[in-house]
Subunit: 330 residues, 2 copies
């Protein structure tokens, strides 16, 4: 795909989707609630209107999102013959679809890009991109409402999930009055307590055991401004935990009083350490990660260090302290 697109209006997106006989809806790799919820909500409504819909996501949905209605219909292998209309849901770039989607595949198709990322490259024929939206789910709600009242419980659950997850339960700074208004419109059709329980409260025991070990290893360097945990292969083994269970750890340790930045170092294999960093705003952890060949956002970034756990810890901590000190000189 080497299309040069322009921004499309809501009405264009609605027209394209309303007239489609067949559509392929694509969610991004490392799928989250917004990309999956947006895609499935679109699928339910378009299908009801007679469109033949295929949903594609190269990777499996995380365990806590498998309750999404229609999740079992998502295929992980791209159809050999792509339909005439391809819709990207929540993908900042076409390559977020994953390696199966080759640039030449979509030359004969019409592509629509529905997204809210600031970094969106307007890669499709029609780009309905609104960076003021806190979630792509808000934009999909706007589209679907033009096609009729949004009252289907499956659709509402998908869209509410998209918004709740991408706004951090309405707590991130990007949460707008519109985010809350769309949630209000969907609320009558959604069991919010059940939804929150499914997404946030079915924690595997191993995750608790991992947090227990993490708290035992927790230190507060830089006079308490940094919360630091380094977990070894032995820690993961003892907790029975997998590497991807550590999101709970970093979120927990960054929320201590006085902490401005949190670092979690995970020994993924001998001599290879994955680093996650979070900042409460003052420090730019994207810059720190960049010094180790990684990246992300100002408030959340990561990198990989090919060193042993102790050396990686020292180097990352040093870099983070330097970043925090330089910030103070501005």
């Amino acid at each position: 795909m080497e299309k040069t697109g322009k921004k499309a209006a809501l009405a264009d997106a609605v027209n394209l989707l309303a007239q489609a006989e067949e559509a392929l809806i694509i969610s991004h790799v490392a799928p989250d609630g917004d990309t999956l919820g947006s895609a499935l909500a679109l699928a339910w409504v378009l299908e009801t209107r007679g469109t033949a819909v295929t949903c594609f996501c190269e990777e499996e949905a995380p365990a806590n999102l498998r309750f999404l209605p229609g999740i079992e219909r998502i295929v992980h292998v791209l159809p050999s013959e792509p339909p005439r209309l391809v819709v990207f849901a929540d993908c900042a770039e076409a390559r977020r679809a994953g390696p199966q989607l080759r640039p030449e595949t979509l030359r004969q198709t019409t592509t629509v890009n529905i997204d809210h990322h600031v970094s969106n490259s307007l890669y499709a024929d029609w780009n309905y991109v609104d960076t003021k939206a806190a979630a792509t789910g808000e934009l999909v709600y706007g589209i679907l409402r033009r096609l009729g009242p949004v009252k289907d419980e499956r659709v509402a659950l998908c869209l509410y999930t998209a918004i709740v997850t991408d706004t951090g339960r309405f707590s991130f700074s990007g949460t707008t009055a519109r985010s809350l208004r769309v949630a209000a419109a969907l609320r009558p059709y959604v069991d919010v307590a059940a939804l929150n329980e499914m997404i946030y409260e079915r924690r595997p025991l191993a995750q608790g055991r991992l947090l227990e070990r993490a708290l035992a290893r927790l230190t507060f360097p830089a006079g308490g401004k940094i919360a630091l945990v380094a977990l070894s292969l032995a820690d993961y083994a003892a907790a029975g935990a997998e590497l991807n269970m550590s999101e709970g750890v970093i979120n927990y340790i960054r929320a201590f009083q006085g902490v401005e930045a949190a670092v979690l170092l995970k020994e993924a294999e001998s001599g290879l350490v994955r680093v996650s960093m979070r900042s409460n705003g003052a420090a730019d952890v994207n810059r720190v990660a960049g010094r180790f060949g990684g990246g992300g956002h100002k408030r959340a970034a990561g990198c990989v260090c090919r060193r042993d756990l102790r050396a990686a810890t020292e180097e990352v901590l040093k870099a983070l302290k330097e970043e925090m000190d330089s910030g103070r000189d501005d």
Copy 2:
């Protein structure tokens, strides 16, 4: 106070408040975000309109709510001469004001009761009680909007806090479309990221140390359906934690996969154990607490056992198991 009240309409509440020359606004003991945010929002607006306002709450605000604008103006000693208008904010009963408020004190005053608790006893002259509201803050918003646009950042912060805290960040089942619509209306005047950080992400270190010990003591009786932690005086001492820091513990342990009910037993002093219970819906922990002279709600209840920690643990666990088994026979 032995008044027999009746339900008052929104318009009645608005008229009374709009005409008051002086008012005492009362928040309940064990103050939370809803009672404090509602009272302070009322205070800011009434004062701007020329009413002389005193805010009273017998107990100190929790540390994480001290950011509320106006918190420093709340007095903890009841004025000897109560004003002609007394407003109860979020108090299900007059005695929720605490022991300083004697029944005879308010005989000469007009009382208004603004609340959303199902158990509200309509104890005032004017009772604006709406049990469908997720927070009293929603009702106060409705009142204040009748007096003019709600755009003051201090008022918006107070009301948003009331709603966020009483809905568990919009996750409890009582969260309604109106809760979300009021939040949407306030959003332009509130920094939601800063607010969430202040309420939820300034955890004292001792609270983390307490969770670490709690996780070390965590067991899953009843085939994993119960999450159980018993913390001794020694545990609190070792963590440097106070008894009231355990809300984080019960919320964490109740969110494990497969857990239907969580129990936390806290040795408050030798031979005295405070018990907190949470249910994900199936078990009625109010009934269990009732067997020990305590109470609460179906999903959240507590009691006190005058026994040693081990005996209390065994008895409460036995009672909870019986409740869960009897539920299955229904």
